[in-house]
């Protein structure tokens, strides 16, 4: 089971919800068979500030950059046609490579009829892995100035155990649960993060700003065919727009977290919500059970 926690709008409480869900399930021995937490917000990972995992492994992530052997190159221009991102330009006597446009797909190397293109690894960031209690933890850190978070997110998501590894999954059991903290927004890094998830929790706030970006995030989930449910954070402020939207769209509101000064203070100190408001552990466990039930209802029996 892969649950992505996303939002569209920044600062709605994605990390608070993702961390609270992980800690609540980890505290329940039955749910901890294999619990992985991934922080895919590689441009500004911050879940570790709340979870405080012990980091045990650091691994650099690189993408392959083309290097052209001008002695073998016939300047046929095929590589430039293959590249969807126009990272190569072939002139009559020279090949230009635009590193900031290269997505590291390797297509030019594969397709070169003269085998004149080699690859040089270009480091774009690191992945750090560790654990906190029974929770396996990993996050990616994109180097400042690198324009492409996608390859780092894909590498990070390879930590997710393959579906075949957990036969219990067919029963929608609890083994092999991955909780992913997604980046804000609705563009490439979010799509890369949410793609392939079994469920997406959309965290929002009941304001016109929350609603505006929730609409966009819901559209992303629909295009990716990932079922979604909503968590309303700072409930009680703002207006009824989010509630009305969810009712109209048939989006289940799975949890409401009221505006609570103590929760905000804990967050400011880097303390998870469920540590200061213990009653929320049960609410997050229930949230997980509702997700399982929703998935069961949406999955046709084989």
């Amino acid at each position: 089971m892969i649950i992505a926690v996303a939002s569209g709008k920044g600062g709605t409480g994605k990390t608070t919800v993702a961390v609270s869900l992980a800690l609540s399930l980890a505290a329940d021995a039955q749910e901890t068979a294999d619990l992985l937490f991934l922080d895919c917000d590689v441009e500004e990972p911050n879940a570790h500030l709340l979870l405080k995992p012990a980091i045990r492994r650091r691994q650099e992530v690189a993408i392959p950059m083309p290097v052209v052997d001008e002695a073998r190159c016939t300047h046929c221009g095929h590589c430039a046609k293959v590249c969807q991102y126009h990272a190569l330009v072939v002139l009559p006597s020279k090949v230009l490579i635009f590193a900031e446009l290269c997505h590291g797909c390797g297509g030019c190397t594969l397709e070169c009829p003269e085998k004149a293109i080699g690859e040089m690894p270009h480091v774009i960031g690191v992945i750090e892995e560790g654990a906190v209690g029974p929770i396996h933890f990993a996050h990616g850190i994109l180097n400042v100035g690198e324009p492409m978070p996608g390859p780092l997110i894909r590498q990070l998501k390879r930590r997710i155990p393959s579906r075949g590894a957990y036969p219990e999954r067919s029963e929608w059991g609890s083994a092999g649960l991955t909780i992913i903290d997604a980046p804000p927004g609705t563009a490439c890094p979010v799509v890369e993060t949410v793609r392939g998830a079994d469920f997406c929790l959309l965290v929002t706030e009941p304001t016109p700003f929350g609603l505006h970006d929730l609409r966009l995030a819901v559209e992303v989930c629909r295009q990716l065919a990932v079922p979604a449910g909503v968590v309303v954070n700072r409930d009680g402020i703002g207006d009824r727009g989010v509630d009305d939207f969810c009712a109209t769209e048939g989006l289940p509101i799975l949890l409401r977290i009221p505006l609570d000064r103590r929760i905000a203070e804990a967050y400011a100190e880097g303390v998870p919500l469920v540590t200061v408001r213990q009653k929320y552990r049960q609410r997050f466990t229930d949230l997980y059970r509702r997700i399982l039930a929703l998935r069961r209802a949406q999955t046709p029996p084989e």
Binding site: A80, A87, L91, K94, L96, F98, L101
Partner: protein
Amino acid sequence: MKVVVSAMGSELEAAVSPVFGRCPYYVFVDTDNMQFEAVSNPAISAPGGAGIQAAQFVVERGVQAVLTGNVGPNAFNVLQAAGVPAYTVTGGAVREAVEAYKAGKLPGMAGPNSSGLR
């Protein structure tokens, strides 16, 4: 000789476009007889790399000069590597730009004069 002008429209009377990579049309003009061919910019809505595509596009068509407003760093690199000089046009129609170029009145571009639009 053949030059290209970034343009807002597809004829010699069209205004010169101030942007090279994302202009609506490229008007290729033979400076000897003012015969021209206008081609819509295939890269105008490219999500990224429009300047690179545009530069490759005009270089492949054998132009010997580019007359435009602003050229970003990537497009400038391509033009420079291909040995095609760029000249700055500050306004007017395509025909006027070509006449000014023929009269040697257009300043050459020494480097990119735009950060590139994305």
